[in-house]
Symmetry: C2
């Protein structure tokens, strides 16, 4: 749970494997790739898992684009963290950060600047997940792409409100609030994979 | 409309005033104070208006806190722009920016940092409007305050999706997407003034 191992998890998993069961790991985490999840399983729980045994919401987003026959010559704008980029690239898709489309990286975006942002027509999808550096600039850019062509795909890795962290179990915002902001700005709903 | 004068607006307003009508100006703009709106009316339309003739959503938020008998010794966390701060201060309230509560100003907020953010119990309200420098850090902080005490007031200046700008009439995100993110993260609805 978070950065803490659930007591007995490793014995339980080993018991299942020794009795001939196939073990899979499912997570709505979009910040990590399947490899990132495997690394965490190894270091935190002491369990060896291959990426084939793992399904994360980051890899689900890539699988969804694959299922839709998304063109590998087209580009994907990602509002999210490294896991989504890693999974999209591994699946052969071209994932872009906002800074690949506009040079300026400050969270702020003025009306004057927004008016002048060109739209790259080769961007054919926006994929959103939790983004611990989410900003008004990212909101502006994603909204611009989603509104300027309603046929652009809009994919959400998940809608989790957040994760409980710290000694008081406070909730750190997850993909849900990011997706909610984007849906409000874009005037349409994301496909939640 | 935006930065453009509607043709004949000044003649129309002058005609109304000369015929003895009292003219009021209503705007859901939260980025500007009433004085800021008066300045814009003067420079853009060429009309002299006093702040008494103007109701903006920034001043509505301050009026709402006044109506609720909000304690002037308490503090208000503002996710928004200068207009809200100016109106809250003019009404005698103590408005805070996120950087008044946490020193770091980068849009990014890690789990480790979030876990250690102290809550100032004298902050008794969160007021949200359009914020052209909105960030994950602000989302984290507002959510922390709204979740850690359900009696803290949660006020939205408005829920406008955005404004049409530029030659192609593209929509720049407004208060709506910011409020949507905060409501999703906080797990409760804002009072829309």
């Amino acid at each position: 749970r978070g950065g803490n191992k659930i007591e007995g998890a490793d014995e339980c998993i080993r018991h299942l494997e020794e009795s001939g069961k196939r073990v899979f790991y499912l997570t709505n985490n979009s910040a990590k790739s399947r490899q990132g999840c495997a690394d965490k399983l190894a270091s935190l729980v002491g369990v060896a898992a291959s990426t084939d045994q793992i399904i994360a919401s980051s890899s689900s987003a890539a699988a969804y684009l694959g299922d839709k026959g998304f063109d590998k010559q087209s580009k994907v704008l990602v509002i999210g963290q490294e896991g989504i980029h890693a999974e999209l690239r591994e699946a052969g898709f071209q994932s872009l950060r906002c800074e690949d489309l506009v040079e300026e990286t400050s969270p702020q975006c003025s009306i004057a600047e927004f008016e002048g942002i060109p739209v790259d027509e080769t961007v054919r999808a926006v994929v959103a997940g939790v983004d611990d550096a989410f900003s008004y600039r990212k909101l502006c850019l994603a909204s611009l792409y989603l509104r300027s062509d309603p046929t652009r795909l809009f994919v959400a890795t998940n809608r989790d409100v957040g994760d409980r962290v710290g000694t008081d179990g406070r909730l750190i915002p997850g993909a849900g609030p990011v997706v909610a902001a984007l849906e409000s700005a874009a005037g349409r709903c994301a496909v939640n994979v």
